[in-house]
Amino acid sequence: MRAVWSFLFLAPLLASCGSKTEPTSAAKPVKAVLSTFLKQEPIPDRIAYARQLLAEAGYPGGKGLPKLEVLYNTDEGHKKIAAAIQQMWNKNLGVDVELRNSEWKVYLDDLSKLRYQVGRRGWIGDYRDPYTFIELMKSDSGNNNTGWSDPDFDRLALESGAEADPARRYEILRQAEAILLCDLPVLPLYYYVSQAAWTDKVKGVYQNIMDYHPLNEAYVEGSDTIVINNGTEIQALDPALARGVPEHRVLNAVYEGLTRSDPRTYDPLPGVAETWDISKDGKTYTFHLRECAWSDGKKVTAHDFVFAWRRILNPAFPSDYAHMLHVVKGAEPYNSKKTSDPLTVAVEAKDDRTFVVELEHPVPYFPELVTHYAFHPLRKDVLEKHGDAWTRTENIVTNGPFKVKEWRPNEHVLLEKNDGYWGSAKTKTRYVKFLPIDNRLTAWNLYLTGKCDWVTTLPVEKMEEIIKRPDYHGATYLGIYYWSFNCTNGPLKDRRVRKALTLALDRDIIVKRIALQGQVPAYGFVPPMFDAYKSPRFDVKD
């Protein structure tokens, strides 16, 4: 507990917050953070306070502070933001800044090996819960990339998992976020907006904060095909091997999990599971499956889920999204080779139409989580029969509203309506064609000439013009654009320096004049998109 107290009141005396070792109990530090940090009003003059902090850290007017290097991956948009940061830090704090850009893979390498000082980052939530952002900054998170760790933060993150009461759980997460914002290994800039354009003939598509649009009811007026530019060639049709948003679009159209997303609200709707019961402790889910079929006519059974979930968790089978299943009891030990027995994973087919899952701890967003393709069912017999070739068009068997009709590498993926799908009465389009065009300007030109009904990525250089169009669809998006500090060496070890740098940026100017898409300035880390969750702010006095 002294730890948290210390960086609230004695912070100027400490070089870093990462050095706390004393064991702490739950209640008190939390109260401390709340009474001093959480309850304060924002500082009226952030820049003056930033100067003061920098002076306290021993760099009055930026004097004595070595040149800072700002790293970003090569991209026009990031470059503009980096230049703004450079200018604002120089003007407001007298800090010298050098920009460095790297090609994508080199940049990722530099970030993960902490070969940078200030680096460009961004994070999109996996599910609608603050935890998807808190989890990111845990000390054992592979995506932390700051060298920062805080035992209280880790402990709160862990505790939030055990808490069954939603309100208390949010409170714990809020306290964890307060610790993060007090220490600032990250520099929040703005919350993302999703961007897309579709013609006025496209119907049944809505914006939501996950920027995810189920195609079940989507169609183009006067056409049997909806053409969507997916932005890149999909990497795999195997739900266990896929990663990324373009794969998500295709996979969720051809498969269906226990639940599916409401196109308007993204709330989980019954999918293969018609209903589900949750045990009192919130840890056991019993899904009652509907009578529905695979594209070859065979029944979808609970065994298909058991097979698929154990398969993705198999450590011999490298999968990017296996960690999403770690909430299932026994999943993590099996996935990380602590045990070799797949039967220890607590998933069970009670009978053909009853699927029971036991969780490690209560997961309030579990029904939403299982819409993800990592949780989709698979057909054991098909995989065993065709081996590696099972996702070929002629072999693949799926259970979603569409089936794969044709996949021409880098040309298109063509889906056709699955007439055997239980909800096919509502499917309005015959075909869905995904184009893989990564050149955004080329895609935009095709859209303008009517070759494509819906573009999911837009050219940065045309943004100013595009956002004024009636067919532009931007919406708040569950993601944060931030920059991170390497907290392991140099002046950035000092949290006052980090806070001064974080405060000295004018986010309104960045959003209105540079980012240009109606992004929301960020003074916290968890996007303000959860009703009962009130994000703390970093722009308060220590």
């Binding site: 065009i437 050149n439 030109n445």
Partner: protein, 311 residues
């Protein structure tokens, strides 16, 4: 002659081998991993991947394995497209790049040659200057500028032609998708061919045998097309070999601008994603093509000019 061919063939194979070794080393030396992404993977998972792709073995073992694959035209599994082989991407991509390339080459000849001959016939007149200005412009404007300009003019403003994608079938409407990429690809070669053609014709038209032909009272048209053309275009013919190679391999930018699913796209994406097998596949296909074309040109020269065989 046979000895010459064998020597040339062996040299080609040796070159290919050196290219394979060097490229293989470079793909392994490049910073960044095929498995890194904005969401970092667990080290155990990366290890599993490396085992799966054999990347945990010493580099000479990896190379030996890869080489055995190359001999069977098997480039191995792709790290970018999981569970698929590089061949599945390279084969359809190459087929499209070749078709577009040949179309571009044919178009370059069809336009460039008459333009050059025409200009030479009107030497130093306004028409000559006009034709040569166009040619100079063609050389100066790179295809990543020309492509978008053509799209802007013919696609977006005039709405005459499609702005990209590969034809879905053989109908004229679908095939018209290839017009703009073809022009973009051919432009610089039209320029070279017309200049070479013009220079060649001018050179030949001052020769004695042309004067003889004219003295015989032949019409100017016959002199030009029957006597002049045959020798006048030799420089163009010798440009043809390297040009075809250039057109076939030079479509990377054009493919990007017009969203053509050719080999170039796989090359770029392979490099950006550190997909070593994909890069190697593209490098080997491209370099085999260039080496094969050069071999053919050498053979042709060998037949035409005995001096080449000796040297």
């Amino acid at each position: 002659m046979l000895g010459f061919l064998i020597r040339r063939f062996a040299a080609g194979l040796a070159t290919l081998f050196v290219i394979a070794v060097l490229s293989f080393c470079f793909t392994r030396l490049a910073p960044g991993s095929p498995f890194s992404s904005e969401r970092q993977l667990h080290p155990e998972i990366i290890k599993a991947y490396e085992e799966y792709y054999g990347l945990d073995k010493p580099i000479y073992v990896q190379f030996w394995r890869a080489l055995r694959g190359y001999l069977h035209l098997d480039f191995g599994p792709s790290t970018m497209y999981r569970g698929r082989s590089v061949n599945e991407y390279i084969e359809p991509g190459f087929a499209k790049s070749i078709r577009l390339g040949l179309l571009g080459a044919a178009f370059a000849f069809l336009i460039g040659l008459p333009l050059g001959v025409f200009a030479s016939a009107h030497q130093n007149k306004a028409l000559d200057h006009a034709a040569m200005s166009v040619a100079t412009l063609g050389i100066c404007v790179p295809n990543f500028v020309l492509g978008p300009l053509l799209v802007l003019l013919f696609g977006l403003t005039l709405k005459w032609l499609p702005t990209g994608l590969w034809p879905e079938d053989g109908s004229l409407k679908e095939l018209s998708k290839l017009i703009l990429p073809m022009i973009t690809l051919a432009m610089v070669h039209i320029a070279y061919i017309s200049r070479l053609g013009r220079a060649g014709m001018l050179d030949v038209m001052n020769k004695d045998y042309i004067r003889t032909a004219r003295a015989k009272g032949l019409s100017e048209r016959t002199v030009y097309l029957k006597h002049g053309l045959k020798n006048g275009i030799t420089p163009v013919v010798s440009y043809a070999g390297p040009m075809v190679a250039l057109v076939l391999t030079g479509s990377i930018v054009v493919e990007k601008v017009f969203a053509i699913p050719g080999l170039g796209q796989h090359f770029i994406n392979g490099a950006l994603n550190r997909d070593a097998n994909m890069i190697m596949g593209c490098v080997l296909v491209y370099s085999s093509l260039v080496i094969a074309l050069n071999f053919l040109v050498d053979v042709a020269y060998g037949f035409l000019d005995p001096r080449v065989r000796v040297s």
